[in-house]
């Protein structure tokens, strides 16, 4: 079985200007979410606050829960999970500690809905300072990871390829950011892991193409750079599509089984992999080509 015929010669580089327009449009659409919807919705991991997951043994209305928990916080949101009597309540961390919060919540719900009807499945309280620290750590870890990546790419390939890979990542993360902001999905520690997974796949794709370019540069010394890039992308096209296809298949499994967090996780991967595949072809290589005038790719 063959997905891509062996002698496929798609002129990717020739069409790169269309890709620029496409990328620009997508990025504008993605980032338009900020003026329209505000910044990404941070989960309590990063913003601090309280998140309670509770399940009831009988049907309960959202308003009843909100009413029941009013004494704890005026400002709380209740979300019902699809297909079960399960709810997620989010609120600010109460002033002056919350050691007995689980007890209080259970008491209030018992009073309103009936004794023994409520099961508190999880309760998470993150203080504002901890949230800020987690935010900082996440940003630092990502920045350092990107620096490592740039150094390794510059060392093994060329500086411009490293820059291309980073551009690719920023491109895809911006799209993910827009996707999360538009859909209102929450960004928390688990979703951070999903984004990092996307970064992993992204880098993978870019490196495979760069690797082939490096190899072809040695054997095709006479050919213009643009053609070598085209040949390399075509040669690896089958692999690119197969790998993305297979990973999307396993993401599908997460979508099938996922409740809340796993499903959000799968959505991040889905969007990330689709655009990651696109950007490894249409963002990384064209950028190297454009930069060739200033930072020529060494041959041989």
């Amino acid at each position: 079985m063959e997905l891509i015929k062996p002698n496929t010669k798609i002129d990717f580089m020739g069409k790169r200007h269309y890709a620029y327009i496409f990328s620009a449009v997508i990025l504008v659409l993605a980032l338009a979410s900020i003026p329209v919807k505000g910044t990404i919705k941070l989960g309590i991991d990063f913003s601090g606050g309280v998140m309670i997951q509770a399940r009831f043994n009988k049907p309960v209305e959202i308003d009843v829960i909100r009413e029941a928990l009013k004494p704890l916080s005026e400002n709380l949101t209740v979300q019902k999970l699809v297909g079960s009597e399960e709810f997620i309540v989010r609120m600010e961390a109460p002033e002056g500690g919350s050691d007995k919060l689980a007890q209080e919540v259970k008491q209030l719900l018992d009073d309103k809905i009936g004794k023994g009807a409520t099961e508190i499945r999880s309760l998470e309280m993150v203080g504002p300072k901890v949230g800020k620290d987690l935010q900082e750590h996440a940003i630092w870890a990502t920045v350092i990871a990107l620096i490592f990546l740039l150094i390794y790419m510059a060392f093994r390939f060329t500086l411009t390829m490293g820059l291309g890979a980073i551009a690719c990542l920023i491109h895809d993360l911006a799209i993910l950011y827009g996707f999360f902001t538009w859909t209102g999905l929450e960004f928390n520690l688990t979703i951070l892991a999903a984004w990092l997974t996307v970064i992993g796949y992204d880098v993978n794709d870019t490196i495979v193409v760069c690797d082939r370019i490096r190899e072809n540069l040695k054997t095709m010394k006479k050919k213009p750079l643009e053609e070598i890039f085209n040949i390399s992308i075509n040669q690896t096209l089958s692999r690119t599509l197969l790998t993305s296809g297979f990973t999307l298949l396993s993401v599908l499994a997460f979508l099938v089984f996922g409740t809340t967090i796993l499903r959000d996780f799968a959505w991040a991967l889905l969007v990330g992999i689709v655009f990651g595949t696109y950007s490894s072809i249409f963002v990384a290589s064209p950028l190297v080509l454009e930069l060739d005038r200033f930072l020529p790719v060494k041959r041989g």
Partner: protein
């Protein structure tokens, strides 16, 4: 060539068997003989997968410093009495300083030589007349502040470790995070999480103080506090009505003895059948207690726990033997928990909960079931896809893939690492499976290219592996490098993701180059295959 193949097969068999032995206890029940002689630890599951309690506590370490300053103020007062230095007051003026007010400025020299010298780690920062008398300001050495704080945090960790040991959780974990934070993890803690939090958090500072019989309690309550005194309350709760009453006690501030000298504390019924806590002191404590009770016969000795008076019995006679009791109206749980925290020791400073993650066991079960199902289904999809696309070679890749999963789990279970599997860890595993599949696809696509260029099956296989090698190393190394800062900076879940990823990347290289290669070599050499099903 045959020789090397044989050894490679043996090595793979050994790795396979070893992994199986490591992973099996996590999957099924272990026979008795196995449990006795072989490693049988199941994989460690994170809190998100098995339920439990995760707390981050912030030690209010500055309060430990304040306590030292308070103690020093009392010490200064008593030294001045001994040296007949007349003073009007000794007060703590900030978290790290105190002021002494002398009645006679000429006694400053005497104060310096007889009192200040004995107050370790305190320095005089200024002196001069003030409206309360001649003021001498003392401050604790800043270097010492840091070491008091650090000691407080370390001591708090030790105490909390002692306390959580009583919960019977398989692998409690109490560690310092940063400067003044303590992370407590109790995976698998199911029952009464609120009670556990109470026990962990309780300062449990036991103090013996003398009731000031001469002081005027009513005047003190209105604000006219005799110097060196304080008011603390006894709280009684009626077990039937639940109503509580507060009784004030006027106590001398000086702490005669603390709970540090306890060797044991246990719950006992008294002659009326009420629960009391019986405490034993160590030898130094017993001597101290004997001296105190001897000096204060016919006075009342208040037993104060966390600034609450529990009882204040009259000392009838000198008490030797080194034991005492705490009375109060306790429920069996309260009494049990109190004895527990007294045995485990007090916290040197109060702690504040700044992060609390409680996961019920049912949610953990759901997460692990969903995660497992998702990974199994995902692998199944991939396996079918590989078999359809690459036929027999795809099957070889599938063997490598299953082995990959087994090896990752084995490395995580292994006694060397004892890594914890978390929900983001499962995500890391999904990423690695993707990477491992990618490695196989890279190899197979290369082999196909070589076949198309007219090479024989054997030669194409060799060339395919060689050419794909560098690419695969590059992709794996970059991912590895990107995961490293996450291990360093990441907290909890993200760290789990990164560790699983790093293990998986190494395993993936092994299966892609060693395992599948060996299978192909075996097929070529032993089965003498001429055409490749790819």
């Amino acid at each position: 060539m045959m020789q090397s193949l044989k050894w490679r097969i043996v090595l793979i068999a050994v790795v396979l068997a070893g992994s199986f032995f490591l992973v099996y206890p996590s999957v099924g029940p272990v026979p008795e003989l196995w449990a006795k002689y072989l490693p049988n630890n199941p994989i460690r599951l994170g809190l998100d997968l098995q339920g439990g309690l995760y707390l981050t506590l912030e030690v209010q370490a500055e309060q430990a410093v304040e306590a030292v300053v308070d103690q020093t103020a009392l010490e200064a007062a008593s030294l001045m009495k001994d040296e007949r230095i007349r003073y009007s007051d000794v007060v703590r003026t900030s978290g790290t300083s105190l002021s002494v007010y002398l009645r006679d400025p000429d006694q400053e020299g005497l104060f310096d030589s007889k009192v200040l010298d004995k107050l370790t780690n305190f320095k005089k920062i200024s002196s001069g007349p003030s409206d309360k008398g001649f003021e001498i300001q003392l401050q604790i050495d800043p270097k010492n502040v840091e070491s008091i704080k650090q000691r407080a945090v370390r001591q708090a960790v030790d105490t909390i470790r002692n306390r959580v040991d009583a919960f019977g959780v398989a692998e409690p974990d109490v560690v310092i995070q940063g400067e003044d934070r303590i992370v407590v993890q109790l995976p698998g803690l199911k029952e009464d999480i609120n009670r556990a939090i109470d026990i962990i958090k309780r300062t449990a500072r036991l103090e013996f103080k003398i009731v000031d019989e001469k002081g005027d309690l009513a005047a003190a309550e209105k604000g006219d506090m005799p110097p060196g005194d304080e008011i603390l309350y006894k709280v009684d709760r009626n077990p039937r009505t639940g109503a509580s009453t507060r009784t004030p006690y006027l106590l001398k501030k000086q702490i005669l003895m603390t709970g540090d000298v306890l060797t044991d504390a246990r719950v006992q019924p008294d002659q009326h059948g009420r629960l009391i806590i019986a405490m034993d002191f160590n030898r130094a404590g017993a001597r101290q207690f004997e001296r105190i009770t001897g000096e204060h016969v016919r006075e009342r000795l208040a037993i104060v726990l966390d600034n609450r008076v529990y009882s204040a019995p009259v000392i009838k006679d000198r008490i030797s033997g080194g034991s005492a009791i705490i009375e109060g109206v306790f429920s069996p749980e309260e009494a049990h928990d109190l004895a527990l925290v007294l045995r485990a020791g007090s916290l040197p400073a109060p702690v504040k909960i700044i992060e609390n993650r409680t996961v019920g066991p049912s949610l953990g079960e759901d997460s692990i079931r969903l995660g497992r199902n998702a990974i199994v289904l995902g692998m199944l999809f991939i396996a079918i896809g590989m078999a359809v696309y690459y036929r027999w070679s795809g099957m070889v890749a599938n063997i490598a893939l299953s082995l990959n999963l087994l090896l990752i789990l084995a490395v995580m279970v292994s006694p060397v690492l004892r890594a914890t599997l978390t929900l983001p860890g499962l995500a890391g595993m999904a990423l690695v499976i993707g990477m491992a599949i990618d490695a196989n696809i890279l190899i197979f696509e290369r082999v196909r290219e070589e076949l198309r260029s007219g090479k024989s099956a054997r030669a194409a296989m060799d060339a395919g592996y060689t050419k794909a090698f560098l690419t695969i190393i590059d992709t794996h190394v970059t991912n590895f490098l990107a995961a490293l800062p996450l291990i360093q900076f990441g907290t909890g879940p993200v760290k789990g993701f990164a560790i699983t990823l790093c293990i998986g990347l190494i395993v993936s290289i092994f299966t892609a180059f060693f395992v599948t290669r060996t299978i192909f070599d075996y097929v070529f050499q032993v089965k003498h295959i001429k055409r490749l099903s790819i």
